[in-house]
């Protein structure tokens, strides 16, 4: 069973080396990191067997702080590096953490193809609905009508529904959670890592500094309350994506299907190539 958070912190964080971190106080990224650590503790994985890859952005800094094999790659490309790592050493548990811009703008193509290919990777996408690191520009998940530094009047584009996109692209496991629902988040990440095949966990997170401030939610508590009030648990049937500031959205598991993953399929190719 998970130990106290202080013990876990000492077990998993590079505490001597890399603190204080770069995130603003109250940032949801810390809650995601906590959930990831608790999930890994529950799975009893060895630190040597875990790879945490990221792209670029505030989310991209997460690997710096944890004592795994960590790679901070190029913007949007975390899944491409993760693909090479996993194929080269399938015994590794490879997790990619990405921002919404990272995963669905510049890395959008890699994201849908990784889902289609169904390699056994876990993609954690921190959806703060904004480009955090570069100063609050609109991202592909900024809701219609929201304000950002590049949509000063109103965002006229429509948001990508990340989890729904992953389902359509063929991911084996897809879930959405929020940083308010932290206990559920531990479990969703745990299930994602456990799943043999491509898993996606989309996490609605607060960037009160770059997103909230421009949209009447300038502090973490207001934003967490917004998640609390608008997130509804998935029952059956269709899900509602978080693409509007006014409407509710669904959290929970959106897809969980069993199919052979890429490595199992490739083993067959090796046999065929050898004429067996």
């Amino acid at each position: 069973m998970p130990k106290g958070m202080t013990e876990l912190r000492h077990k998993y964080l590079r505490h001597h080396k890399k603190f204080p971190h770069v995130w603003c106080s109250g940032c949801g990224n810390g809650i995601v990191l906590g959930a990831l650590i608790r999930a890994i503790e529950r799975l009893k994985l060895k630190k040597d067997d875990i790879v945490l890859a990221s792209g670029i952005g505030c989310s991209g800094r997460m690997p710096t702080y944890v004592d795994f094999n960590t790679v901070h790659t190029t913007h949007g490309r975390a899944l491409t590096f993760a693909t090479g790592i996993k194929l080269a050493k399938p015994s590794l548990n490879v997790i990619a953490v990405m921002g919404d811009g990272d995963a669905t703008a510049i890395g959008g193509n890699h994201f849908i193809h990784a889902a289609r290919r169904n390699l056994d990777l876990t993609a954690i996408i921190i959806n703060n609905q904004i480009y955090g690191m570069t100063g609050g520009q609109a991202s592909p998940t900024t809701p219609y009508g929201a304000n950002s530094t590049t949509s000063s009047f109103s965002n006229i584009e429509h948001a990508f529904s990340i989890a729904e996109l992953a389902v359509a692209a063929g991911a084996s496991f897809v879930a959405r959670g929020t940083v308010y629902h932290a206990a559920q988040l531990d479990k969703l990440i745990e299930k994602g890592i456990r799943k043999n095949g491509f898993s996606v966990v989309e996490i609605m997170s607060n960037c009160h500094v770059q997103f909230g401030r421009r949209n009447n939610m300038g502090d973490p508590v207001t934003m967490l309350n917004w998640f609390k009030e608008h997130a509804i648990s998935k029952v059956n049937g269709s899900s509602i994506p978080p693409d509007s500031l006014d409407d509710n959205f669904t959290i929970g598991i959106l897809a969980d299907v069993d199919k052979p993953d890429y490595i199992a399929e490739y083993q067959k190719i090796r046999q065929m190539a050898k004429g067996k």
């Binding site: 040597d48 960590t70 491409t80 090479g84 050493k89 890699h110």
Partner: protein, 380 residues
């Protein structure tokens, strides 16, 4: 049954010989995206790698191809990709990442006419400077070139060896002529091929500094999962691998990157020399043009003209010493290229005196023939 190819005489295309060279060098991972005139490399990899327990994957583009190659190399598997101009342009971002993080990998660019979609099925040598300076920022890199099917095999082995030894991406420039020419070629016995591997750390994991300087300037390299957990980032980093903004760390990092290559000049800068002893007119060429130049030099010699050839196998770091020594002795230099004159600029840059440098350039999608080079020699 997997056929045993070592020692076998085969009729191979340049592109196919590259695959065999890569496998002989220990390459067990390939990621690529189809593009003429490089596609045969992907095609042959897709059936050869699974035969030797390697992995081939067709990615969604060239950006992801190089990302996957770097990832596989970080996990300890020798890796490569191959492309042509448009794909090589897309690779520049992750090429810089490989330089910054010192991840060994081999990138083949089978050059075609450019820019943009250019001339997909015609030879050219327009990507020489892109290979050197295509990714942003100061960075060291090794660029090799191939002139024949047998070199497609042997130079790929060299590319992997240098990449592993110096922890630097190595680019191999081929061109459409070399790539698609078929020649008989005997694959050497495996034990006659020298294969170099990166040096793994031998200190306890808690002492390991992934980017620590040493006499060679090349840090030891662990593979993911072997117990040496550390951080890899494209940000400028310190010896521990973590981002730094300390001016002294930044300068030391960049200088070491250059030092490690400069230290190895003697073995990195490969040239082939033909008839140089008494040569008055020296041709400097690379790729398929070097092959034409060899014939042209023989034709000139038959006419009593004292001609010679330096074939640049290594293009960058530019083999300055060899070129300068030859220029000190000859009267004129001719640099034939299938571009507007990219290496002739380098030759002029290193010219130690008053040796005349002549250019001969074709940019019409046609290869340069021995006859043309011979005629240029005669004009001089």
């Amino acid at each position: 049954m997997v056929p045993e190819l070592n020692g076998k005489k085969l009729l191979l295309q340049g592109n196919e010989a590259m695959v065999e060279g890569a496998i002989a060098a220990g390459c067990r991972f390939y990621a690529g995206y189809p593009i003429t005139p490089a596609s045969e490399i992907s095609e042959r990899m897709s059936y050869r790698l699974p035969q030797v327990d390697g992995t081939f994957i067709q990615m969604e583009d060239e950006i992801s191809s190089l990302g996957a190659v770097i990832g596989a190399s970080l996990a300890g598997v020798k890796s490569m990709t191959a492309t042509s101009g448009p794909g090589f342009s897309l690779m520049q971002e992750n090429l810089g990442y490989a330089c910054m993080t010192e991840v060994p990998c081999v990138i083949v660019n089978v050059m075609r006419g450019g820019p943009s979609t250019g001339l997909p099925t015609s030879p050219a040598q327009g990507d020489v400077m892109q290979a050197r300076w295509g990714t942003h920022g100061d960075h060291p890199i090794i660029v090799l070139s191939v002139a024949s099917v047998s070199e497609c095999f042997s130079i790929i082995v060299t590319a992997f060896n240098l990449s592993e030894k110096y922890r630097v991406p190595v680019i191999v420039l081929s061109d459409e002529v070399v790539a698609h020419s078929r020649e008989t070629f005997t694959i050497p016995p495996a034990d006659s091929i020298e294969v170099v591997d990166r040096i793994a750390p031998n200190v306890p994991p808690e002492w390991y500094k992934p980017y620590e300087d040493n006499s060679r300037g090349v840090p030891t390299m662990s593979s993911m999962g072997d117990g040496y957990r550390h951080h890899v980032t494209g940000l400028v980093h310190d010896a521990d691998g973590f981002p730094t903004d300390k001016p002294e760390d930044i300068e030391a990092f960049t200088k070491r990157q250059f030092k490690k290559i400069t230290n190895g000049f003697f073995e990195i800068q490969i040239t082939k020399k033909f008839n140089l002893e008494d040569a008055e007119i020296v041709v400097i060429a690379y790729g398929s043009v070097a092959r034409s130049a060899r014939h042209a030099v023989a034709m000139a010699r038959a006419q009593g003209i004292k001609a010679g050839l330096i074939q640049l196998v290594t293009i960058f770091p530019f083999p300055k010493n060899t070129v300068v020594n030859v220029m000190r002795q000859c009267k004129a230099v001719l640099v034939p290229e299938m571009n507007m004159g990219q290496i002739s600029r380098e030759v002029k840059r290193v010219n130690p005196g008053t040796t005349e440098v002549f250019k001969y350039n074709r940019i019409d999608g046609q290869l340069i023939t021995p006859q043309e080079i011979f005629e240029e020699i005669q004009k001089i």
